[in-house]
């Protein structure tokens, strides 16, 4: 059963179609990968889902309810959390405070300070940052800053998590750890929709993959199908193969 559905989602920036007539769906409990060359509209699609950018044509439904026209905070409270490609952290605030904000505001019901603190502790433990409660986030390494972003998203108690290039800039050990973390989040019952450039990660953990190119969806299917898809190889993998040779 799809938890998130999009129909004819279209967004123009001036005359440029950043996302053009994209139909998609994310099934409950799956990990869906979203790939495509730079400028394909991946992050724009995430921005449309999370309410960062308003759009007029097309519709996005989460658990059957329309998300169009809702503000980011309302979408977050309904259970859609996200991380950002460029980490958007509260740099000089301690790790704990960063996550605390999400725990306080991210859920539809008001929670007590003690409950919020418990949520934060849990989320930090989950991502493996318990030891760094008091550290200002700007003093963390990139991988740990990304962990803070994930903990922050988890503290809002989401049902669907949008991960925007979580693995970008990480080394191969960190990528394996991040892959484990993503699988662990899914096993916890949270559906995952992720944009990723790291093919190893995408092929390793996604059940399905969707490919965008110039704002249009050009393919969708299992990892196997996508890896063999001619169009995809041409526009995406082909470029990489070419660059690699």
């Amino acid at each position: 059963m799809p938890i998130l559905e999009g129909q004819g989602v279209t967004k123009y920036f001036g005359g440029l179609a950043a996302v053009s007539h994209v139909d998609f769906h994310v099934d409950q409990g799956e990990i869906l990968g979203l790939i495509g060359p730079n400028g394909a509209g991946k992050t724009t699609l995430f921005n449309l889902i999370s309410g960062a950018i308003p759009f007029k044509s097309g519709g996005i439904r989460f658990k059957g309810q329309k998300l169009n026209g809702l503000k980011p905070y309302q979408i977050c409270r309904r259970g859609v959390a996200r991380t950002f490609q460029e980490t958007k952290i509260f740099a000089d605030m301690p790790v704990f405070q960063n996550v605390l904000m999400a725990a306080f505001f991210g859920t539809p019901t008001r929670i007590s300070g003690a409950d919020a603190a418990r949520e934060v502790t849990q989320a930090l433990e989950f991502v493996g940052l318990s030891a760094m409660n008091e550290t200002p986030v700007q003093d963390l390494t990139l991988v740990n800053q990304k962990r803070v972003e994930v903990a922050r998203a988890l503290a809002t108690k989401p049902e669907l998590l949008l991960l925007d290039e979580l693995m970008a800039g990480l080394n191969s050990t960190e990528i394996s750890e991040a892959m484990e973390l993503v699988t662990k989040i899914r096993d916890d019952g949270i559906t995952i929709f992720m944009v990723e450039h790291v093919m190893k990660a995408i092929m390793g953990i996604c059940e399905r993959i969707m490919v965008l190119h110039h704002g249009e969806k050009i393919a969708e299917g299992t990892c196997q199908e996508i890896a063999c898809n001619k169009t995809v190889i041409e526009v995406y993998l082909g470029e990489e193969a070419h660059a690699g040779s």
């Binding site: 977050c76 952290i89 809002t156």
Partner: protein, 331 residues
């Protein structure tokens, strides 16, 4: 009790604060003639600096609308006086002044707080002109007067009301800092987009705190009007009151809650001293001080105090440890 713990924030700060308030509250009983009006002025500047920082400090939205809110309070007060007598009890006039400013802040906040950075600052600056022109139009075409006489209120009463507003402002700042509202404001200041995606209703938080900070500016304006006796739109909506809160807050330092208090005090006192001696050089000297503070003390005067306090704390704990060591040696 350990002397170092005693010197720490937890015990010392509340005790000192209560002491200061008591001293200020009893000031009319023992101070020399002419001190109370000066202190009233100083309190006014401090309130303006603190209430400006209440909103603009954590959120990073630099507002130049202070004079508009201050003026709203002044004018509300002027309208509530008739032939030198207040139509409402004085505290009610003050609250009305605050509410007038708050309402204005809510209306313009909803329209302008979607602007960011310099655009918001410019727009907030324009508000002052808008408010002034509106009142000028109203007075000229509707009521047919140029200005209004406001009733005279006893100097000590003005002083007490000013002190009460300051205490209320500082308590509000304290509770906001400790509350989730304060956390949300900080989030907005550090990364508004991230805060919004974490469930913070950024518009609500911004408009609410903008209105709250306007309330205290308006309340101050309402009581100040009774000192000025005569008010017209040009007097009420004075450009200076848009820039001064910002300057005082920067000189004092916005990082510490008492920064604007220090800045407001320093400004008002300097103004008093310099203006009576060298009326033409006052702004020059204050400008030079500001440049020096910005160059050498980016954290404001408050950072200087913080440094001193750390040293004092270190010294005290050293002494205490030395004491203990001696005791151990004796036994």
């Amino acid at each position: 009790m350990n002397i170092a713990t005693f010197a720490s924030k937890r015990f010392l700060v509340p005790v000192v604060l209560v002491l200061i308030v008591v001293l200020l509250a009893t000031a009319p009983l023992y101070t020399a003639l002419g001190t109370i009006p000066l202190m009233t002025t100083i309190l006014m500047y401090i309130i303006l600096a603190v209430s400006w920082t209440m909103f603009s400090g954590p959120t990073g939205y630099i507002s130049l609308a202070s004079a508009a809110f201050f003026g709203c309070g002044i004018y509300a007060s002027a309208l509530l006086f008739e032939r030198g007598a207040a139509l409402l009890p004085l505290p009610a006039v003050i609250v009305m002044g605050g509410l007038a400013a708050s309402c204005f802040a809510i209306i313009v906040g909803l329209a302008t707080l979607r602007l960011r950075g310099i655009y918001f600052t410019m727009f907030s600056f324009g508000l002052l002109e808008l408010a002034r022109r509106l009142f000028q139009y109203y007075e000229f075409y509707v009521t047919g007067v140029r200005g209004r006489y406001v009733g005279n209120v006893d100097g000590n009463t003005v002083y007490y009301i000013m002190l009460a507003i300051l205490v209320a402002t500082l308590l509000t700042v304290y509770f906001i800092r400790r509350s989730r509202l304060g956390l949300a404001m900080q989030g907005i200041g550090k990364n508004e987009e991230a805060a919004a995606h974490m469930g913070v209703n950024t518009t609500k938080v911004k408009v609410l705190t903008f209105a709250l900070s306007a309330f205290f500016m308006g309340a101050t304006g309402a009581i100040v009007a009774t000192r000025w006796l005569y008010v017209d739109p040009t007097i009420a909506f004075n450009l200076n009151y848009s820039f001064l809160p910002l300057l005082m807050a920067i000189v004092g330092g916005v990082g510490q809650p008492y920064g604007p208090v220090v800045g407001g005090f320093a400004f008002a006192y300097l103004r008093h001293v310099l203006q009576s001696k060298t009326p033409y050089y006052f702004m020059l000297v204050f400008g030079a001080i500001m440049v020096l503070v910005i160059l050498f003390l980016p954290g404001g005067l408050a950072s200087l105090i913080e440094r001193g306090r750390h040293r004092l704390g270190g010294l005290m704990s050293k002494l205490w440890k030395g004491d203990q060591a001696e005791q151990h040696a004796d036994t």
